[in-house]
């Protein structure tokens, strides 16, 4: 790696003498294989007909390094997630948190749709729900998106008899659906109605990229076991935000690492503790002592007026 960067600096110097400042950062590894097309043409002239590409994709390793792998490898790792044992290890040094800004939510439900799509969930199983809340008669109603709160003292994990649901070092609470015995004690123990159960054989899509089960993707789904929002660890591993965060058109969701004090809603990155301080962040039902990883910003100074209508495209249940 250092060899490469030296080479590059040398060349730059000879070309323009302007790159003294340049230090190669995380993208250095990317250079080695970048632009396969051009190199190929330089070495042997062929017609520029479409052919197999040497696509390379950047991947973040568990320790936060960016490495480049061939796309054929990616396909498997990207969609399959880590093995059952590896999934129990959190990404080192991270403590993932989410901040949900209630003042920006207008129940567009894009988050939910994206979640349903990426986890291959049917209509009736919703891992992410948007509740219509009204604290008392006088109070104004507001929309409250609620994923799994990934508690630091998770009551669901406490009661699991077989270690099927577990708390990772990076704060995520995941489920190993190949171990779950389906006793549903975790569902009874969760105060936030987060968990859902596969009452019958789940309908699985045929065109799935990977058929190997991983707790990081929660897929393929298993009959007779419990599932829930997983904060998309397969995305986090790639250095990408969870699907609900990127899907939200209004920047309701901030997601990030509390250890480096920053959260990002896809557009802007802000300091996590400053955000909570400035906007009076709170956690839902703090009194229970479950210490959720999800914080809420109160629904004051709304971006949108509250409209109590079924959102577009939402199917009405009879």
């Amino acid at each position: 790696m250092s060899q490469k960067s030296e080479d590059l600096e040398k060349k730059d110097d000879s070309a323009s003498g302007r790159r003294k400042f340049l230090k190669l950062g995380i993208l250095t590894a990317g250079l080695t294989i970048a632009g396969g097309g051009l190199q190929k043409v330089l070495s042997d002239e062929k017609d520029p007909e479409p052919k197999e590409s040497g696509t390379k994709i950047k991947v973040m390793t568990p320790d936060g390094k960016l490495v480049e792998v061939d796309s054929t490898h990616i396909k498997e790792h990207d969609h399959c997630g880590a093995s059952r044992d590896e999934s129990r290890q959190g990404i080192p040094g991270k403590k993932y948190v989410m901040v949900i800004d209630l003042s920006r939510c207008k129940n567009a439900l894009k988050c939910q749709k994206s979640c349903q799509k990426h986890h291959f969930l049917p209509e009736q199983d919703k891992w992410l729900k948007v509740y219509k809340m009204q604290d008392n008669e006088e109070a104004s109603p507001y929309w409250m998106p609620k994923p799994c709160l990934h508690c630091d003292k998770p009551p669901c994990v406490k009661v699991c008899p077989v270690d099927a649901t577990f708390k990772r070092s990076d704060g995520l609470v995941l489920i190993d659906n190949e171990r779950c015995i389906g006793c549903r004690f975790c569902m009874a123990a969760c105060p936030y109605s987060t968990r859902t159960f596969n009452w019958d054989e789940p309908k699985q899509p045929d065109n799935r990229a990977c058929n190997e089960y991983s707790p990081e993707t929660s897929n393929p789904r298993k009959k007779g076991t419990v599932e829930k929002c997983d904060f998309c660890p397969d995305m986090l591993k790639l250095g990408k935000l969870p699907h609900c965060v990127t899907a939200c058109p209004n920047g309701v969701y901030y997601f990030g690492d509390a250890n480096e004090d920053s959260v990002c809603n896809g557009d802007e990155t802000v300091r996590f503790r400053q955000l909570l301080k400035d906007k009076a962040g709170y956690r839902y039902m703090e009194a229970l002592g479950t210490e959720p990883s999800v914080y809420y910003l109160p629904a004051s100074n709304r971006l949108f007026p509250f409209k109590d209508a079924e959102p577009e495209g939402e199917e009405k249940h009879s």
């Binding site: 729900k129 609620k146 077989v162 015995i181 389906g182 006793c183 596969n198 019958d200 039902m285 229970l288």
Partner: protein, 456 residues
Amino acid sequence: MKEIIKPVNEQEAIEMLHRYNEDLLPQKFGMAGKLWVTILCLVIAIGLYNYFWQLKLGLTVTGLSDTVSWGIYISNFVFFVAVSLVGSLITAILNLLNVSWRAPITRISEIIAVSGIMFAGLIIIVDMGRPDRILNMFLHGRIQSPIVWDVIVVMTYMTISLLFLIFPLLPGIAFCRDRMTNIPKWQHKMYKILSFGWTNKKAQYEIVVKAIKILSVLIIPVALSIHTVTSWLFATTYRPGWDSTNFGAYFVAGAFMVGAAAVIAGMFIIRKFYNRYDEYITDKHFDRMGRMLVLLSFVYLYFTVNEYFIPGYKMKGDEGEHLKELFVGHYAPMFWMVQIFGMIIPILVLLFPKGRKPVPIFIMAVFVIIGAWFKRYLIVIPTMLHPFLPLQQIPEASKHYSATFAEWSITGASLAGALLVITLFIRYFPIISIWELAEERGVPHDTIYEHLNEKE
């Protein structure tokens, strides 16, 4: 009712023993017995058929949903655990207190306990989404989980109950082995194995007496813990209606009550269908059990007031909503029926000596048992329908719960199964312990050792 007269001399004692032997040998089924067993088998067959489909299709055959994820399987489980507590109540506590009328009813309570705990264990497997992974409990068990505690105490209690059943039964089995002719070979073989080489020796009796003493002490904490731990399955959660510090004691009190009622019902039916049993299970026994039931009902009433009406005074947030649903809402009819028929009326009736005659007390016992089953329904289901977050963005079917036919039939099969185990036990084993009865009625020990096993 015949007066019980203590034997004045050895001859009389021996005669008494012989008469007991004659009366209390297990008897073959009559018409009623055969019909009863057929009906039970039919109910079990329907349940097994539905369970087969549940295994195939998943728990979707039930009325359960993500909201009400525990239904009548779990409330039935709690019911079974409650009923099984009675083994320790009658046998151990009366034993330790040296109550003089206990002998004819101890075995009834022990077999109710054994079959209750057996089916508690089975019905909890029925509730599992993945019964094929049951071994994970042992491979990956977490000692932090109340379910693991429950599995441990249920297995422990089952073992202790079986021991408590078998030790005093040994002379009885040996008696069947030696004295029952005209029985199929397998039955004889069964007696031979289960009698553990009993030969009516004094040293053997000494071992049995010693074992019963140890068991009487050991079973009490274990029995209390099965029902306490079962209450913890609920009390360790945050849900309104379950988040209670009263739950352990409340469950134990309820279990004692329904257990006593179950023994009364058992006594009545056995006495009804077996000739001359009224000499052994006397009206006095009903009277004493009635007094006990009324006392236990008062204890339960006390806990009920604490469990419902004190939180009802505060009507705290979500808890208040849950209570409103019970007091005046959707579950009010069931709630008040259970309180009135399952507790208040039995208390009122049993307070009077006339109410403690066999027939009225039997009816009251049946009230208590049915009330107790629905009480457990009320503990499990309404709470599940009141989570902290509103019931939104879920299918309409998830906002209510009503058990499906499959669920009822499987639950019914488990109840029928428990009754079948009790019935078959009565069919093949002496349901009243002859030697303990003789001892209680003043037959000297040495006479028992010498003459128990002989014919007139």
